[in-house]
């Protein structure tokens, strides 16, 4: 420090300091708009009781998209093979039920998450040394390899026709699955809430900060001593585990699974959902998955061709004009309103 420099003693400087500190200290506090998605989810349960099977699928996709946001939005890992972990979770639950007679749902999805997370850690350790096209191709090839390997043993996996007629024990030994999917919906919502709680903590932790640093400038991270590879593998494993839980829920809610869960299409659709909603924004996953699936449900039935055209157009528009997705647009609008109100 310079000898002739006094530490901040002027009130203005002190105020600036306090303001800066407060900003960081307060960053992770819950803000009231964060309650909205959950309120809406519960409202949907009351208002649309006949759409609850669809609702469960939306919640599962939100969870899946959250897992992708962790690695894509926060750590900057571009992958088109995340379906690999979704599928691993889905099949762990299915095979545990069919072959091992293990039909308890909660331990089932925990098992699915653990298997997917473990595989994610090992695969990540190898492939996260690379970036760019190499990494992209490795993620695609990994998911495809799992799918083809599953097809080799279609006697176990049921191949592309799948394993129908899976059954699961009542939730917590008491709540039976009903035809209308009510139990499923609340179950998925509860699991999503738990997962989200963990993801939110990670994102606001120093580790989460480091991930953002890796995304923003990996050279600088190396230069300040960050163990970049270890950080990436860790987040990749966590993300894989969450995708695995989503996959497990998928199997449980459909009582059915096929090898199509590993499709390239699934990974690509997931990325579209997240981009639509906005990456690196936690709630982008909620908005993107919900909007995409709602639109797909309505529009693709009208005309699959127009739906595909529309999605393609939407992607181009998003990249050119709305890079930060719907949540980004809302944030921009919010900022503009704030500025206008200050005048």
């Amino acid at each position: 420090m310079a000898a002739n420099e006094t530490m901040t003693s002027s009130p203005a400087a002190e105020a600036a300091r306090v303001r800066a500190a407060e900003f960081l200290v307060r960053r992770h506090y819950f803000r009231w708009p964060e309650a909205l998605p959950w309120l809406i989810a519960i409202a949907c349960y009351c208002v649309f009781p006949d759409r609850m099977t669809f609702g469960s699928q939306v919640l599962i996709m939100i969870m899946f998209a959250l897992s992708l946001d962790l690695i894509l939005g926060y750590a900057g890992i571009v992958t088109l093979g995340h379906a690999a972990f979704f599928g691993l979770g889905a099949y762990t639950v299915a095979l545990a039920s069919m072959k091992l007679g293990w039909s308890e749902p909660i331990s089932g999805i925990i098992g699915g998450g653990l298997v997917a997370g473990l595989v994610g850690a090992v695969a990540g350790w190898f492939i996260l040394r690379y970036r760019g096209l190499t990494l992209l191709m490795l993620t695609i090839a990994f998911a495809a390899t799992l799918q083809e390997s599953g097809n080799l043993r279609s006697d176990i996996t049921g191949g592309y026709d799948g394993l129908p007629g899976l059954s699961f024990d009542p939730l917590l030994g008491y709540f039976q699955y009903d035809l209308y999917g009510h139990t499923n919906y609340l179950y998925a919502l509860a699991v999503l809430a738990v997962i989200f709680f963990f993801v939110r903590r990670i994102v606001y932790s120093p580790f989460g900060q480091a991930l953002t640093g890796i995304r923003e400038n990996i050279r600088r991270m190396h230069a300040v001593g960050s163990p970049v590879h270890a950080r990436l593998v860790t987040v990749y494993a966590i993300s894989a585990a969450i995708a695995g839980v989503a996959g497990g829920l998928f199997t449980q809610s459909n009582a059915f699974v096929t090898l199509t869960v590993f499709d390239f299409d699934v990974s690509a659709k997931l990325m579209v959902m997240l981009i639509l909603g906005g990456t690196g924004r936690l709630y982008g996953a909620f908005v993107g998955a919900f909007v995409y699936m709602a639109m797909e449900d309505k529009l693709s039935k009208l005309s699959p061709t127009f739906w595909q055209f529309g999605i393609g157009l939407l992607l181009i528009v998003a990249v050119l004009f709305a890079r930060r997705g719907l949540v980004g647009l809302v944030e921009d609008a919010g900022r503009r309103v704030q500025k206008w109100m200050k005048q």
Partner: protein, 260 residues
């Protein structure tokens, strides 16, 4: 011999080649504790390459790098940083989408291992935030603390680059043209900071501006074509005819040096 304290940084017979291109030739360099050494030389002499070799971005084909007596030649870049080597880049390498304060907090977090924490919120570590603000304070950057790095004028960004390096609490600091790209109206900010750095840190500065070199350096190493051409005190270097011929041109050292 064992009673002598180790130099903060020592480079022994360092060589680096890319195929047929021999970019660093038998470089010997010593930075004592608290050193103030300038590394000068014509463009393409391999100055940044040398810094990259010291920090671990590049691997030498021969020779050793010693940090406080320990051989770190095989150590990774990140590990070297944690052991006390910090650097600034010729072109800013900052987290442009984050605020200035976050840039520093992140650096401190990686230094302490705080960033291994997945559970507690970053905001709860008051000590980190306070230390970050102290660093910003010493560089008069507190007012910019909440601004995104990419919103700052280039000169202030350059200061943030130095702040990041200082936040690592290094024992060895390598500055790669710290005033480069900074408009002359702002360069005094950088130079004041550099001049006032902690006397305990060993500093190597790559510079083209001879004003800065003369003001700051107690020793100078001249690098030409990847090899050490000569070393000495500023007075010796200025008086050296060969150095003038190779690098300084006809004019005397006062601001007549070749600018990048």
């Amino acid at each position: 011999m064992s009673a002598m304290p180790h130099a903060a940084l020592e480079v022994q017979r360092l060589n680096c080649s890319f195929g047929a291109l021999h970019v660093t030739r038998d470089v010997d360099l010593t930075l004592e504790r608290g050193a103030r050494r300038a590394l000068i030389g014509p463009n393409g002499a391999g100055k940044t390459t040398l810094v990259n070799l010291i920090t671990g971005v590049l691997t030498p084909t021969d020779g050793r790098v010693l940090l406080n007596g320990d051989d770190i030649t095989a150590t990774s870049q990140a590990l070297r940083a944690r052991r006390g080597i910090a650097r600034t880049f010729q072109i800013n390498q900052l987290f442009r989408g984050l605020t200035v304060l976050e840039n520093i907090c992140m650096t401190i977090g990686e230094r302490d291992g705080n960033c291994n924490n997945l559970w507690r919120p970053a905001g709860s570590k008051r000590a980190v935030i306070d230390e970050a603000l102290d660093h910003l304070d010493s560089l008069r950057l507190v007012d910019d603390a909440l601004k995104l790095v990419r919103e700052l004028p280039y000169g202030r960004q350059r200061l943030v680059e130095i702040a990041v390096a200082l936040a690592q609490k290094p024992r060895v600091l390598l500055l790669d043209e710290p005033a480069a790209g900074v408009p002359s109206s702002e360069s005094h900010l950088i130079l004041d900071v550099v001049a006032a750095l902690d006397p305990g840190i060993a500093i190597l500065i790559i510079e083209h501006d001879m004003d800065v070199v003369m003001r700051f350096a107690r020793e100078i190493t001249v690098l030409v074509h990847g090899a050490v051409f000569t070393q000495g005190t500023p007075a010796e270097i200025m008086a050296n005819e060969q150095v003038r011929a190779v690098y300084l041109g006809q004019a005397h050292g006062q601001g007549g040096g070749a600018h990048a």
